[in-house]
Symmetry: C2
DNA sequence: GGATTGTATATTGTGTACAATATACAAAGA
DNA sequence: TCTTTGTATATTGTACACAATATACAATCC
């Protein structure tokens, strides 16, 4: 939460925004927790103004909810809201692989292969944080291949909202082998330009994630 | 741009947000135009703070772009950005009618019928503003029937970004007959639960809009 | 005892002053 | 004349002060 100086030079609101988002996604700030401006301002060593502007942005991203005259709190994820988001996300991920099949060029194929192999390498290790990043990189390579920036942006935003859970998902090493296989199958289908197969495989991939995350939510509720 | 008092009681930032968004969508604020805080503050009779917070929100909605230390300007729509958005929107609209086919209940069917008939009524008149609103209401009825609020929210946000053009589209009375027919076909398909037909018809509907809007953009550029 | 009202406190909402920076334009030098 | 540099001005970035409001808790009344 400290050392926001790492990217000094860009406006404080953006630094604060990134800092708070990170804190929410990693679970440092928990669902339902209140975001009090003065407190955050003191903690981050800035005034209330950039804090407020950062909160406005988090609100639009769906990570916090504002109650007028009461302030902001970290959005809590219900099973219903999660399935709603995943329903949309699945449709967009399918669109992404379909477009990738149609439009991917040579360089992008190389990049996709590279990211897939990097993921395979890391999947054997213990660093969940690195693995998560490699997973994002693989998916980003797909979005790049669609030629539609907006699409990638939207899916990333949706994916972000369940980032906290996906991290747990990746920590479970027993699933790594399956993940590697899924990536490989998605990759193969895109390279072959086989839209039907690619959309089928991405669906499997997303639905496995969904099942895992819902399990987590249910077990949390049981606490 | 004036009389923001209509919804006094909610925070000024939200009033300003709505006011500015409306101004952008109706074309009162034109693409590329700079949003200068002091100027807007004077014009709307508030201080810079709520203006700034409203601009932060508009930025996240994609209606304005921020340049650090230079300020905000109304986002301009290129043909490429438009087709990107429509590509995503089409996928989501298809998902919406598919889910509607599966989940619509009796009350929602009645509502959908009502909205369709209202649109047919108004399509004979001259009030483009009313017609546009009826069109939105029809589509909203579809989103309601999906049981997925998030989906409707996202599509509306995408649709909003081309609102300015759609208004021109609706002003062209020669297309009204076609619009009424398209709505009728979408409605019939949803009531029958015919997913294939519904997605086909919604695709036609969106692609007609796309063609019309692209025509407008090209003719504007020719000026 | 329970409900209600009043009051203190905490927190957000708004306005405003000052700092930092970018831009335009003029002046000076080659 | 062209380039460069300096300076004035406009504009955003940040901090802070005050106003408005919600919340909790105590005091009072029935």
């Amino acid at each position: 939460m400290e050392n926001y100086m790492q990217d000094a030079f860009l406006p404080l609101r953006d630094v604060v925004f990134k800092t708070l988002r990170q804190a929410i996604l990693t679970g440092e700030l928990k669902p339902g927790e209140r975001l009090m401006e003065i407190h955050l301002a003191n903690k981050l060593g800035v005034s209330r103004t950039p804090i407020r502007e950062a909160i406005r942005q988090l609100e639009l991203e769906g990570l916090v909810i504002m109650v007028p005259r009461k302030g902001a709190q970290v959005a809590s994820i219900t099973e219903k809201s999660l399935t709603d988001v995943l329903e949309v996300r699945l449709a967009l991920e399918k669109l992404a692989v379909e477009l990738a099949c149609k439009r991917i060029n040579y360089d992008q194929k190389e990049m996709l292969k590279e990211k897939m192999l990097e993921f395979e390498q890391l999947a054997g290790t213990d660093d969940a944080s690195l693995i998560a990043r490699a997973d994002v990189a693989f998916h980003d390579a797909i979005f790049d291949s669609t030629g539609n920036m907006r699409l990638g942006q939207m899916v990333n935003n949706l994916a972000e909202q369940m980032y906290r859970y996906r991290f747990e998902y990746i920590k479970d090493k027993s699933g790594h082998e399956k993940l590697v296989l899924e990536h490989r199958q998605i990759y193969d289908a895109i390279i072959k330009g086989d839209i039907e197969e690619a959309t089928k495989q991405i669906s499997v991939h997303i639905k496995n994630q969904e099942a895992s995350i819902i399990n987590q939510i249910r077990s949390e509720k049981g606490n």
